[in-house]
């Protein structure tokens, strides 16, 4: 079964690679037919990837949420899932050009991380993980992170398009990128969707920490960083709905939020303090 999971994983990666090439061609040559092929390849890759996650879980008799490989694989899975929601909501294929390659890179990094020797988890840590709350905590945080990534990608597109329009450049890039309002709406919706999910994920983690009577759980670097991420994206929504902040400011804030997410996911976990050691 483990073998089947691996085959599906590689198959999923190959399909995402095909989709990346097709999306890139669609972006350059503006051929709608190729975006359809790309969506099809992404969908097929997503099915293979999902099958791989399920088979891997069945083979190891545990929910695959620990370790760098599982984290990266779940990140890729959540990115593609969110991408399909985006494509359905705003009918924009453009984000496939950004998000599908990002998912592919995440999967490839996961595959590379398999070669690194993992950390043996102590019995106490394994006991902490033995709860549906922890599983939901991880899944919700992953999905929310994917939502934040979509919001940040849309914001980056907003800034690029804004610069093109401000400079009065009628370039090919300007013609290929979507309108400012489309990118604004997409970023806002993605963040609006992701923030409650993130909040729920954090709350489940806190409940589990309290349940387990962990001392000074709030001093864990990842917990603190997640507070920063939450504050940035909450400010984003607050500034938009309460203050009517400019599109440029909000777009920059969304990008800052993504940077915080990356710091949390990549750097904060490497610090030798706190109780969040499952990801290593």
């Amino acid at each position: 079964m483990e073998q089947a999971a691996l085959v599906n994983y590689w198959f999923g990666m190959a399909l995402y690679m095909v989709a990346t090439v097709l999306y890139a061609y669609h972006f350059v040559a503006k051929r709608p037919l190729f975006s359809w092929y790309a969506s099809f390849a992404t969908g097929a890759g997503f099915i293979a990837h999902t099958a791989s996650i399920v088979l891997h879980g069945l083979a190891t008799s545990e929910i695959p949420i620990t370790g760098a490989f599982n984290s990266l694989s779940l990140t890729a899975w959540a990115l593609v899932l969110i991408y399909f929601v985006v494509e359905h909501l705003v009918k924009l294929k453009l984000y496939g050009v950004v998000l599908v390659p990002a998912a592919l890179i995440s999967m490839a990094a996961g595959q590379i991380s398999l070669r690194a020797t993992g950390v043996e988890l102590p019995a106490e840590a394994l006991a902490q993980l033995d709860s549906w709350r922890v599983t939901m905590h991880v899944v919700l945080i992953m999905v929310a992170n994917a939502g934040f990534a979509v919001g940040a990608a849309a914001s980056a597109v907003y800034l690029i398009q804004g610069v093109q329009l401000k400079r009065h450049k009628s370039s090919g890039l300007m013609k290929r990128l979507p309108s400012l309002t489309q990118t604004q709406v997409l970023a806002r919706r993605a963040i609006m969707l992701a923030l409650p999910v993130y909040t729920a994920g954090i709350l489940l983690g806190i409940i589990r920490a309290i349940e387990f009577r962990l001392d000074y759980w709030w001093l864990d670097p990842r917990v603190m960083m997640s507070g920063v991420v939450w504050a940035i994206f909450a400010s984003y929504l607050l500034l938009h709905y309460r203050r009517g902040a400019s599109g440029r400011l909000l777009a920059r804030l969304a990008l800052a939020g993504l940077v915080a997410v990356v710091i949390l996911a990549v750097f904060a976990r490497t610090l030798p303090t706190g109780f969040h050691i499952f990801g290593l």
Binding site: K30, H168, T181, G244, R248
Partner: protein
């Protein structure tokens, strides 16, 4: 037979001449029947638009095709021949195919890439078809030309980018707002240019129009044309909060919209973008407002710059379109070349069968008293010999028909098998394809050139 074209367009004739040479839809039937009444013209299509009048015709080989069509134009429109000829252009052979494909792809239009011409050529062909003025050649040529037009539009971006100021404004507005449906525009100053731009924006779905002008009555007049509302000039910045697009074209000599005032107005907009078009000279809007977040200002020079860039892009796409046209010309030529193969093969077989049956009859008479079985055997033997003899040449003829210069094999076969009625065995169709493509003329020209060179050589050298 020749493919012939006579016409004039915005490039060769002023409107005073073009308007004299039109063929309105209701007069095309009459014009086509008059044109086809002469034995010189076998097929004809009249293309008549505001920018061009072109007559495409298949004319008899032995006549001066362009001359015959000019005669028709002179008679039909009662014009002075010498005066008219100054504005006309003529094409024959392959040049006609190229010209039609370029016209239908809008490469010859006043605005390269415009979409109307394809419909106009279709309409012209439909008139000709309905009046039995198009035959085998034009049915194929024009139908293929529509495919060329479609290919050019779908495989290139020739019609993609706006090439007028007002459309460029619409195109840019769509890059800010995606769709203009439900948007509000504020027209500042009741000038003609702002009215035209507003018209295009309203045509693209803008919901409400606000008009501000120093003279309130003029604002009301213009607002009424768009079912919009006139607003007081001094309340301008309060209304800017509700507007998505501002078009400014006043006669003011100072900036009407300054950065400070607009910055204050922008505070109440909750971050929604404002697209401003300043088409006034001198400008109405301080260029510094472009530095404000969510404000995108374009003045007349910026819009001209966009139009120029778009025109350059269309020119680049036009080069790609020329490649498509070249491919399609080759395809049409191949069709023409293959056109004579089928009747030639049939004629070869018919002639062989006639010879076989005549010779068989003579042989049977000479032999006499053959049994039924023997007769059948001899008959089958001769038929088999003829079939086997013809199989190779006919198969190769069909094969080469689709190739370049395939017509030469067809002509050679007709000559070698003596398929035509004249004593030299020369086909009455010989030169049909060559003449349709203008190759006969080219060959004649080449021969004449050669001869003249030789003559010159003789004069100088010898």
């Amino acid at each position: 037979m020749h493919l012939t074209l006579v016409g004039l367009s915005h490039k060769t004739a002023p409107v005073e001449i073009r308007e004299k040479l039109t063929f309105p839809a209701h007069r095309q039937e009459e014009a086509l029947s008059l044109l086809l009444a002469t034995p010189d013209v076998a097929e004809a299509v009249l293309l008549s638009t505001c920018n061009r009048t072109e007559i495409y015709a298949v004319t008899a080989a032995e006549v001066d095709g362009p001359g015959a069509i000019i005669d028709f134009l002179v008679d039909y429109h009662d014009l002075d021949r010498h005066e008219l000829v100054r504005y006309l252009y003529f094409s024959q052979g392959e040049a006609v195919i190229r010209r039609l494909f370029r016209v239908v792809s809008s490469l010859d239009s006043m605005v390269i890439g415009e979409a109307q011409i394809l419909g106009q050529v279709k309409e012209a062909y439909e008139h000709a078809f309905a009046n039995d003025a198009s035959g085998r050649i034009f049915n194929k040529l024009f139908r293929q030309s529509f495919e060329v037009g479609k290919r050019v539009r779908s495989e290139t971006d020739i019609g993609e980018n706006a090439v007028s100021i007002s459309y460029a404004a619409v195109e840019l507005a769509k890059k800010v707002f995606d769709t203009l449906e439900g948007r509000t525009i504020l027209i500042l100053g009741a000038g003609k240019m702002s009215e035209l731009t507003a018209k295009h924006l309203v045509g693209n779905g803008v919901r409400s129009v606000l008009v501000a002008n120093r003279t309130f009555e003029r604002a009301e007049e213009l607002a009424a044309r768009f079912c919009g509302s006139a607003i007081r000039y001094d309340e301008l910045f309060e209304w800017i909060r509700d507007a998505d697009i501002v078009i400014s074209s006043t006669a003011a000599t100072r900036y009407v919209v300054t950065k400070d005032k607009l910055a204050r107005a922008m505070r109440g907009r909750k971050g929604s973008p404002l697209f401003m078009i300043d088409i006034a000279v001198p400008r109405d809007i301080d260029p510094d407002v472009n530095e404000l977040d969510d404000v995108f200002l374009y003045d007349i020079d910026d819009l001209n710059g966009v139009v120029e860039t778009n025109l350059e892009e269309r020119m680049r796409e036009a080069r790609r379109a020329e490649e498509i046209i070249a491919e399609e010309i080759v395809a049409f030529e191949r069709w023409l070349e293959s056109m004579e193969v089928v009747p030639t093969v049939a004629a070869m077989r018919a002639k062989a069968e006639q010879i076989r049956s005549n010779e068989l009859e003579k042989a049977i008479k000479r032999l006499g008293g053959l049994s039924e079985k023997e007769l059948k055997t001899v008959d089958a033997l001769t038929a088999s010999i003829v079939n086997k003899m013809l199989h190779g040449p006919t198969a190769r003829l069909k094969q080469t028909a689709g190739e370049k210069e395939g017509y030469a094999y067809v002509e050679a076969a007709r000559f070698l098998y003596g398929l035509d009625a004249n004593p030299e065995g020369k086909s009455p169709h010989t030169g049909l394809i060559k003449s349709l493509l203008g190759k006969a003329e080219k060959a004649a020209e080449r021969a004449a050139e050669k001869a003249s060179k030789k003559e010159m050589g003789d004069t100088i050298g010898c």
